[in-house]
């Protein structure tokens, strides 16, 4: 009766494969736009995956920028003390936000539905104010500029190409963690998403899985912050504004929440669109808005849902 649980499904493998092309692309092109868009996608994918983990349990989180800030500033502050080792920094950028998420989770995971949405939004606003109010540690409103590039096995990841490949590596790592977590607890997450009350009455310790998801999602968000700081070589409060949470949520929903391909494809599409629209100056926001309206109305289930529907019709 019990199905065999695979470590990773084909959707995860496709997602990893898509991301892995980031390693290859720099060998064929030197276009800064391609580099820039890919780099933004790699950052966005990680952040969107953090949102996606929580969505697996029907929890829509706006707290992603707050945890990104913890990860990003951890790396920036360490960099000021000349600590740039990639492995140590990756671990720190994951673990610190995860640790902070434990007490916060105890507070907010008692909330469900829209209440959770609103409270996580408040969390990311509090983080923004905390950054302003702690100039000694975080540089306050100026942020921390001139973060040194990371060193991987003694090599400084300084050039555009190495920065991109490192961001790609982080995105693959985050996708692996996300994929393993959501595969391993697929039944539990799905049960919580569909019918939390029933799951609990059957004996599922719901809070344990929610807490686990929240903590891992926080760690993943930390990796996104790390990747962002590494791309900009700057940790700045404006990078972690609470309104950016909306972008990550849009990536996930537009991509489709059905599988991990959703955040990957959604981020790709929307980051590309943002760059395309950016050169339309004041109309950029409006075009982005229209795109969201059209996709939500025309493509139910997001990009992935639509592809799946088309696939079913064809086969």
């Amino acid at each position: 009766m019990r199905k065999q649980i695979r470590l990773l499904g084909w959707t995860e493998l496709v997602a990893l494969l898509l991301l892995a092309t980031g390693f290859v692309v720099p060998m064929y092109t030197r276009s800064v736009l391609v580099y820039s868009v890919l780099n933004q996608i790699f950052v966005g994918v990680i952040a969107a995956e953090s949102v996606w983990i929580m969505l697996r349990m029907n929890l829509l989180s706006f707290a992603t920028p707050a945890f990104m800030a913890i990860g990003g500033y951890t790396v920036a502050i360490a960099g000021q003390h000349d600590i740039t080792d990639a492995f140590a920094m990756t671990a720190a950028a994951f673990i610190l936000p995860a640790l902070v998420a434990i007490p916060l989770g105890a507070l907010v995971l008692r909330l469900r539905g829209t209440y959770f949405v609103l409270v996580t939004f408040v969390l990311s606003q509090i983080m923004q104010l905390l950054l302003f109010e702690t100039p000694g540690l975080t540089g306050g409103s100026n942020g921390i500029a001139g973060v040194p590039p990371v060193t991987l096995l003694g090599t400084e990841m300084g050039s555009n190409r190495l920065v991109l490949q490192f961001a790609c590596g982080l995105a693959i790592l985050a996708t692996l963690i996300t994929g393993l977590l959501t595969r391993w607890f697929r039944q539990h997450f799905a049960a919580i998403e569909e019918n939390e009350i029933l799951a609990e009455s059957l004996g599922l310790v719901v809070w344990r899985y929610k807490a686990m998801g929240f903590v891992v999602a926080a760690g993943i968000a930390g990796l996104a912050g790390y990747s962002l700081v590494n791309m900009l070589l700057t940790a700045h409060p404006s990078s972690f504004d609470s309104s950016t949470a909306v972008d990550f949520i849009a990536y996930t929903i537009i991509g489709g929440r059905l599988s991990i391909l959703g955040p990957v494809l959604g981020t790709g599409a929307l980051v590309y669109a943002t760059n395309l629209f950016g050169t339309h100056g004041q109309y950029a926001q409006g075009l982005y808005g229209v795109l969201i309206l059209v996709v939500v109305l025309a493509a139910r289930g997001g990009i992935v849902g639509t592809i799946a529907a088309v696939w079913r019709r064809v086969s």
Binding site: Q187, N195, A199, G203, L204, V205, V206
Partner: protein, 238 residues
């Protein structure tokens, strides 16, 4: 010795009293019916015993252990399972996935007799179907089977026959017999008097939040106060 004992249990919502001073015990292997008019507090009673809602007073004791106000998952893990009045399954997944989840979340492995039960309700050939696509009666039975699949020592059934066709109600009898054969004691809240008379050697009558009577159906249902409180109403069989 698996015994459920309820002592002076009470539940209030703010100033509103749902029930108070409810005491009874359900011995190992026992079968107890609970009846009462709508709004008597029957579903809330199940909710409080199973940890879904908190008690305002009194105690729930399982095997000599106080489980009052334990969270629902902990109560379930201690061997007390409950079913829901409305169909309550994981709607988007197959029947077999539903049952697999119940077994996994229950944490005690599949109970003896599960396959027989699935056969009896005609669910075995439909294991691959999405549960939401099943006819209502089968969804309802699936909800019961899922509660049973956690291998409980005690089962609380919340109106298992409600919404079933007359011909389907026999399935509830089958379920209760099989569950008891597997060693579970059963508490059943029901409106269908025929079913209660058929199944239960002992019943409780709940009215306006107090325990009106406790005893064999033949005796209890003859009492004038019970007739006034409950049977005076039109018997709901829908």
């Amino acid at each position: 010795m698996t015994e459920l004992r309820v002592e002076s249990l009470a539940k209030r919502f703010g100033g509103l009293r749902v029930f108070q001073d409810i005491s009874f015990n359900l011995p190992e292997g026992g079968l107890l019916g609970v009846i009462g008019p709508n709004g008597a507090g029957k579903t809330t009673l199940i909710n409080v015993i199973s940890g879904r809602q908190s008690a305002s007073g009194g105690r729930v004791i399982l095997d000599g252990r106080d489980i009052t106000n334990r969270p629902a998952h902990a109560v379930s893990r201690l061997g007390l399972a409950r079913s829901f009045q409305q169909t309550n399954t994981f709607k988007n997944v197959s029947v077999s996935e539903n049952i697999a989840r119940a077994i996994r979340f229950g944490g005690r492995g599949a109970p003896v007799g599960l396959d027989r039960m699935l056969d009896a309700f005609g669910l075995t050939p439909r294991l691959g179907e999405i549960s939401d696509k099943l006819p209502y009666g089968l969804q309802k039975m699936l909800g019961l089977v899922m509660a049973f699949a956690t291998s409980p020592k005690i089962l609380l059934l919340d109106e298992p026959a409600a919404g079933l066709e007359r011909t389907e109600r026999q399935n509830v009898d089958t379920f209760v017999h099989n569950a008891r054969q597997a060693g579970a004691s059963v508490l059943i809240v029901e409106h269908d008097m025929d079913l209660i008379r058929r199944l239960c050697p002992r019943i409780l009558v709940l009215d306006a939040g107090v325990l009106l009577a406790d005893g064999p159906p033949a005796v209890v249902l003859a009492r004038p106060d019970v007739i006034a409180a409950y049977l005076g109403e039109t018997e709901e069989t829908a």
